[in-house]
Each structure stands twice: as structure tokens, then as C-alpha cells.
Symmetry: C2
């Protein structure tokens, strides 16, 4: 095990992209729910556009221009933004269709190694998501996918969105731990850089197709992370020896 | 199933006394850790005295005379109060012994029907503790006892102690539900009365020996609760038919 991990008692996981494959799951639901309203549109492009609104919408909370609002609400607003950008009259789509599509984010499928890897890691560590997802979203994903979390933590419990330092530090405090007893596990270098800057340990899990076959970002570790793993099973191989 | 339960999607459980047997677990640790310092004292009496400080300590948060403080901190303060009341010089006991004893509340054993009953109920409902325990306490109990919660909710996440209405209503809101979609499950009539007063459904689980063989309170349902069950297995029998 990495020397930096000898103090670690809890692993906190980024969820979207690290544990679950949001792009394939969301685009499948875009096909199902919007096929009649967006003929000819590529559902993966739609999923990418929707995801592209994710950081800007949280940034308005992080910079104080609006109070904390759970991700379900931001996702629903961002859906309207994307429809508008594509020139779709959103009033032509029944609101209940959009509400149901918004719940696609509650039904994301895990990567094939996530459940088995987490199950092994749970034997040795406290495991929880530290996601920008709200509690109910993460709970629904975990219940359907049988992700064996010890607790559902994250932005809503902390009252702050990553990479705001408060998102990491309040979660560490809720666990009754200090930063070097906690490791952030993520497929995104920026998440790990933010966690490291406030004293957490770091583990990079590469997810080279999170954004599809043409992905150009986060293909490799860009920092001196404590652990670099091919997937969650490999992380368990390295940490549970 | 009770007519009142047709709308229910989530079951929230009181933990101390309802899911776990705090008295036997804590008194065993009192014997272990304080035996040398309290010769002749009855460890069950000590556990009862410690528990007796629980409501008064939370009341100081509920009535606004101090800000919200997690239960681990209140338990540690209450331990000093009990030692003082018993005439024990708390300075004669090493602080690390008291810190370790305080963690007895993180190692409570479940009643024999809890894990099997919860496992069945989880198939049909979202299940989570709505306890005055802080997150780490409830997490440690769940991890050791293998309580299959979908999430760890409760006072620390809500920022309010039961029976403050905010403890129930904020938890319902975090679940993205409305009160009649949520049922409170407890062995304490007062907890159910508070939950009912803000619109939740109610299930009473009788625990006639929570306070030992001479228990005089909460031996039967004292309100018109939606469900009354002998234990958590019986609750599953009634709700999962």
C-alpha cells in the first residue's frame, strides 16, 4: 500500500464518471423520453450538452450569486437551457416528460468494476460518496446499483459544492476524522487537486471513456497522487493487500 | 398493509432502543473500562444514569441555549456529569479511558430481529435512521452490525434534535418526499407523536426491555399509530406482504 495511505480510514468517492457512467445512462434516457421531440438529434451529444451546464450552474452557488440549491434543481434548470440552446420549444414537451427525464441522473449504471471493488474496499475502509449529487440522487443510484456505501455524504450534507474546500473539510469533520485520515478517489485531476490542497490523500482512477471514445481530458494522472489505479478493482488490489 | 401506509416510500428508524440495545452494550463497556475506578458500582445503573442525561443535554440545543453540537460531544460531557454525580473524581480516570468508553455508543449491538427485518424492508422501502446520533456514530454502529441502511440521516444532517419538528421535516425534504410518504418507526410513543404532528406516518415497535426488566414506559402503543409491531421482523411481515 502507498506510504501516504497508512493513516487513511475513509475513502470518499467522486460519483459521476468515477463510480457510474453518466453518459451512456443519460443518453439512453434522452432517446427514450425525447425521441419524439428531437428527431435526428444524437442523444450522446444531448447528454454532453446537459453535462456541460453542470459546472457553470454550480459555480453560481460557489461564487455566492445564489444560495445552495440541490443538484436535482440545477439539473432541471440546465435541461431547459439545453432545449433552448437546441432551438426546441420546451413548452412543446410536457413538464412531466422533462421531470421524468431529469430522474435519469437517479438511474445511472455503475462501471462494471465499481460494485465488486467497493465491496472489497468496504472491508478495510469507511466508504462513502463525496459527490455533488444531492442525497436522494446518490441514494437512488446506490439502491438500484447496489453500491455498498457506509453513508451518503456529499454537497448537500456539506452545504457546499466541490471544489469549494468546505465540501471536503465539512465531510471530513462529519466523519470525526482529520484530513490525512481521508482519501478522495476520483477520475478527475481537478477534484484531487482541490482535495489535496486541504490535506486529504488522493487516489486517481482512470476512466478514459467517461466522455466517450474521443475523450481528451483526465486520461492520466496530472499530479503526484498517492495512488493511481486502472479501476476500482485495481484500487482494491492496491489498498487491500 | 395498513391503509395509512399506501403512500409510504421511506421508513425512518429511531435507533437507540428501537434498532439497537444501548443498555446492555453500554453497561458491558462500563464494566470493562471503569471497573477499576468504580468498584462495586452496577454498570447497568451507570448506563441508565448516562442515558438519563441524554434528553436534558439535547434540550439545551433545542431551546437555543447552545448551538447545535453533535451527540458524541454531548455524550462525553454527560459522562463527566455522571462521574461527578457518583462522587468519582473524574481526574483520576485517564482521559483516554473516558474517550474510549464514550465510543461504547458507536458499538451498540442490534436487537436480534433488526438486521433480518431491515433487510426485508429495504426491498420495498428506502430505509434510513432518523436518530439523534451523529453520522459517524450511526455509521460505526451500522458497519459493525451490518445494518443495511440506504443512507445515514438524522439530527446532524438535519441540524436539529428530535422531537424538534425540523428534525423530521428537513429529513423528509432531503429525501425529496412529502411527509405522508415517510413513516417514522420507533419504540417511543413521544417520537411517534412528534412525527405524526408534522404529517408523517407512524409505526410503533415495542421494546419492553430497553430499560431492563423493570421497564414501565412505552410498553404499548399510546397513540393511534398506523402500524403496531412486536419487532422489526413483525414490521416486515406486516408491510411486505
Amino acid at each position: 500500500m502507498s506510504a501516504g495511505f497508512t493513516t487513511v480510514k475513509a475513502l470518499l468517492f467522486d460519483m459521476f464518471g468515477t463510480v457510474v457512467d453518466w453518459r451512456e445512462s443519460v443518453s439512453a434516457e434522452v432517446s427514450t423520453h425525447l425521441g419524439d421531440y428531437l428527431p435526428g438529434a444524437d442523444p450522446r451529444d444531448f447528454a454532453d450538452l446537459w453535462r456541460a451546464e453542470y459546472q457553470p450552474s454550480m459555480e453560481r452557488v460557489r461564487n455566492g450569486s445564489r444560495p445552495f440549491e440541490r443538484l436535482d434543481v440545477l439539473h432541471r434548470e440546465n435541461l431547459m437551457t439545453v432545449l433552448d440552446r437546441l432551438g426546441v420549444n420546451s413548452e412543446a414537451v410536457p413538464p412531466q416528460v422533462l421531470d421524468e427525464l431529469n430522474l435519469a441522473w437517479h438511474r445511472l449504471d455503475p462501471w462494471p468494476d465499481s460494485v465488486s471493488g467497493l465491496t472489497r474496499l468496504k472491508e478495510r475502509f469507511i466508504i462513502a460518496p463525496l459527490s455533488n449529487a444531492n442525497v436522494r440522487l446518490a441514494l437512488d443510484v446506490a439502491k438500484a446499483a447496489q453500491l455498498p456505501w457506509d453513508a451518503i455524504l456529499g454537497a448537500e450534507v456539506a452545504g457546499a459544492y466541490k471544489p469549494d474546500p468546505a465540501a471536503y473539510l465539512r465531510t471530513v469533520e462529519i466523519l470525526g476524522l482529520v484530513p490525512d485520515q481521508v482519501a478522495m478517489v476520483a477520475a478527475h485531476n481537478s477534484d484531487l487537486a482541490a482535495a489535496e490542497s486541504v490535506g486529504l490523500r488522493t487516489a486517481f482512477v482512470v476512466r478514459p471513456t467517461e466522455y466517450g471514445p474521443g475523450q481528451t481530458t483526465d486520461l492520466s494522472a496530472e499530479g503526484d497522487w498517492d495512488v493511481v489505479a486502472e479501476d476500482v478493482e485495481d484500487l482494491a488490489d492496491q489498498l487491500c493487500r
